[in-house]
């Protein structure tokens, strides 16, 4: 499916920049256009590291392997360039930017995604923002609040989805978007993601999660199990159910990683 491939990871190894300890030990993963993949795994398996490495976090160093995004080498791009190229990372812990309104923040981000030299029309932006917020059933006053400052866990995650809706990525990597959410908040966030994938069937999603429950609301095409820094099994949605029943223990090479399910 190489023509339709959006992301192709081969033999990816990575470590924390200042340390020797490897975290990713040889990840292979290919995601096709419009596909939804889920990576599941116990704590410390490297799932979140993979998400950050894909987004270009400067705290990690790739030591081996390759990542092609739409056929081009992703690893030579800075984090902001990756975003501009169409990668979006929904953060597990969205960061607070006090004093900066969501509207202002989004305007700057959308401007950064414009083709070189193209000035974003402020009225047009405002219309799009209103339209996107309506699509996600959000109150427009939300945009006047300061980015993640004093937000509840649910509000932070909804803010991530709003950003995704505004930036319209080709690939959204969602790092434990379900963590810290009660079931109602989870449903709201999942419905936002589903709305966006319905709107743009070509958008690909990589869900990173510890729990099966998110996959009840966002149905993946493929499920991968990550243990000790690499993917040890891939399959259809049934893999998630199997994990739900058996836990991660059987997949851990060391058999010593705590079962989180």
């Amino acid at each position: 499916m190489s023509d339709a491939s959006i992301l192709k990871i081969e033999g990816l190894e990575a470590k924390v920049a200042d340390e020797d300890l490897p975290i990713l030990t040889g990840v292979d993963l290919e995601i096709g256009k419009g596909e939804i993949h889920a990576i599941m795994g116990p704590n410390g398996s490297g799932k979140s590291t993979l998400a950050k490495v894909l987004a270009g976090h400067p705290g990690y160093e790739v030591t081996s392997g390759s990542v092609l995004f739409q056929g081009s080498n992703l690893l030579e791009l800075e984090a902001d360039e990756r975003s501009q190229a169409g990668i979006f990372l929904a953060f597990q812990y969205p960061v607070e930017i006090p004093g900066v309104s969501i509207a202002n923040f989004l305007r700057t981000a959308v401007q950064a995604h414009q083709a070189d030299g193209e000035e974003l029309d402020i009225f047009e932006f405002s219309d799009i923002l209103t339209e996107r917020m309506e699509l996600l059933e959000m109150d427009v006053t939300f945009a006047e609040r300061h980015v993640n400052d004093g937000f509840s866990g649910g509000e932070k995650k909804r803010n991530e989805i709003l950003q995704m809706a505004m930036l319209k990525p080709k690939l959204a990597v969602m790092d434990e978007t379900d963590s810290g959410l009660d079931i109602d908040a989870l449903k709201v966030v999942a419905s936002g993601v589903n709305t966006l994938t319905e709107e743009d069937p070509e958008m690909s999603i990589l869900l990173i999660t510890h729990y099966q429950r998110l996959l009840d609301y966002i149905e993946p095409d493929r499920v991968h199990v990550m243990v000790d820094g690499r993917i040890v099994r891939s399959g259809g949605p049934e893999v998630a159910h199997q994990l739900e029943a058996e836990g991660y223990r059987g997949w851990s090479e060391a058999n010593s990683i705590a079962d989180g399910v």
Binding site: A79, D80, R82, Q84, V95, G99, A109, A112
Partner: protein, 471 residues
């Protein structure tokens, strides 16, 4: 001294030739500070005898006081003071050519989008300001209400009693060495009087006063807000003030009478060779409100602590300040609130940013005197460090002589974190822009209090300052 001799000393007879030959020397006082210089200034301004005496006495006070041992590093200041001209006739300042203004300053004006005419004023090279017509109608409107908005020199000439009643009463010459210096050599500044019950919607802006002495090196401003009046005064601009001199020492005296309300906004951006030592004080009477909004950028060293003396029951004082210390700069700023009367309230909000080897110091005093029952004060100072080499210090002095006072103090120091930058980068925002965004957000609580055009200029200035701040 006979009058004709005075004229010769002043070189006034040479002056008419300046119009035909710019290379002819024009009058300026000798270098350094002396009795002769003080006498020349007073004579040139045709001041009454009492003002000359006042100046001379202040000179004695100045000479008798040692250099402050606290605050910023003043060790090389004395050498600077020996080399500066304490009085330069304003006409000469206006004759500086636009070509003499450094490119760096011109580029800043360019980037800030400041209109050509205004640029020249800011750089001290122009004499005319295009908005004079706008100002003219405002001036008529104000005059009809009895508002006085003049140069300090005209204030002394035209309103001698009102002037003398208040001048030097809020900041006496003995207050500190630089207040004494200013009292001896002051020149330029504003004289403002808002009559009882008059409320002005349009801010009084210092740069409306054209064709008169603008803020000089030793500016002196006296503002009297009479009972129940309301006004807002704005001094300065975010564009750098370019002067060839390296010393500025202003004195700003403000009286806010019963039930009156006043805000003094100043944003200043000095060239980075400047020592900027300013004394700003207000006397706040019964149920009156005084607000200082103070932004300090640039300079080599700024020492400036706007203060509110809450002398009437129920008086309220507020000090909001932003300090930006770039490479090699030291901003030693803060505020003072002195509670003298019962039920007085105050707040100080201070935000500082240090970049490169910049250093910002918060220095504040909250004093509650005996008898100031039920005083309430809150101090919040936040520092943001951009680089590992940046520095910040906090010196909050609190002196309380009443046991029912409620005084709160909060301080925070933060660094722009890797996670914040990564978050913004992951949204496509480049590093410089991300830094500027975080800094803008940091000062937002104070910047939003500024008139829109000032807030916009301040934000653009910060963007420029953040360019290339990340390695």
């Amino acid at each position: 001294m006979p009058q004709n001799e005075t004229i010769q000393d002043l070189g006034l007879d040479e002056y008419k030739y300046d119009f035909v030959s710019e290379t002819e020397p024009v009058f300026r006082a000798e270098k350094g500070l002396s009795e002769e210089v003080v006498r020349q200034i007073s004579a040139h301004k045709e001041e009454p005898e009492w003002m000359l005496e006042y100046r001379l006495k202040a000179l004695d006070v100045y000479n008798s006081k040692p250099m402050p041992k606290w605050g910023g590093d003043l060790s090389s200041l004395e050498a600077v003071l020996d080399e500066i001209y304490f009085y330069v006739r304003p006409q000469e300042q206006m004759e500086r050519s636009w070509d003499d203004v450094p490119d760096e300053i011109k580029n800043t004006f360019e980037k800030l989008g400041i209109p050509e005419a205004e640029r020249k004023i800011l750089a001290g090279v122009g004499a005319q300001y295009e908005s004079e017509m706008v100002y003219h109608s405002l001036r008529e409107e104000w005059a009809a209400q009895g508002v006085i908005f003049d140069s300090i020199e005209d204030g002394l000439k035209n309103h001698p009693e009102l002037f003398r009643e208040h001048f030097g009463t809020i900041i006496p010459m003995h207050d500190n060495k630089f207040a004494a210096m200013n009292a001896a050599v002051w020149s330029g500044g504003s004289f403002v009087y808002i009559p009882k019950g008059v409320s002005l919607d349009t801010p009084l802006q210092a740069y409306f006063r054209v064709n008169q002495e603008r803020m000089g090196q030793f500016e002196r401003t006296l503002i009297i807000i009479d009972e129940g009046a309301q006004a807002h005064y704005i001094e300065g601009c975010t564009a750098p003030v370019y002067t060839t001199e390296s010393f500025h020492s202003g004195v700003i005296e403000i009286v806010v009478k019963k039930n009156a309300r006043f805000r003094y906004t100043t944003i200043q951006n000095w060239s980075n060779n400047m020592y900027n030592l300013v004394t700003q004080r207000s006397m706040v009477h019964e149920n009156a409100t005084m607000e200082w909004l103070d932004g300090n950028l640039g300079s080599k060293l700024t020492m400036k602590y706007p203060s509110c003396y809450l002398i009437g029951e129920g008086a309220h004082g507020e000090i909001m300040s932003i300090a930006y210390a770039g490479d090699g700069q030291h901003q030693d700023t803060g505020g003072k609130v002195v509670h003298v009367a019962p039920h007085t309230t105050s707040s100080i909000t201070s935000k500082s940013i240090s970049k490169g080897t910049g250093r910002s110091t918060y220095r504040g005093l909250c004093k509650v005197h005996k008898g100031a029952r039920h005083a309430r004060s809150n101090v919040e100072c936040d520092a943001l460090l951009i680089n590992d080499t940046s520095r910040t210090d906090t010196y909050p002095y609190i002196e309380i002589e009443e046991n029912d006072a409620s005084v709160g103090h909060e301080a925070s120091v933060s660094k722009i974190g890797e996670e914040q930058l990564f978050y913004l980068a992951s949204r496509g925002i480049a590093k410089d822009e991300a830094m500027a965004m975080i800094v803008r957000g940091f000062i937002e609580p104070i910047a939003k209090q500024l008139p829109l055009e000032y807030a916009v200029e301040l934000n653009r200035l910060i963007e420029m300052e953040m360019e290339g701040s990340v390695g």
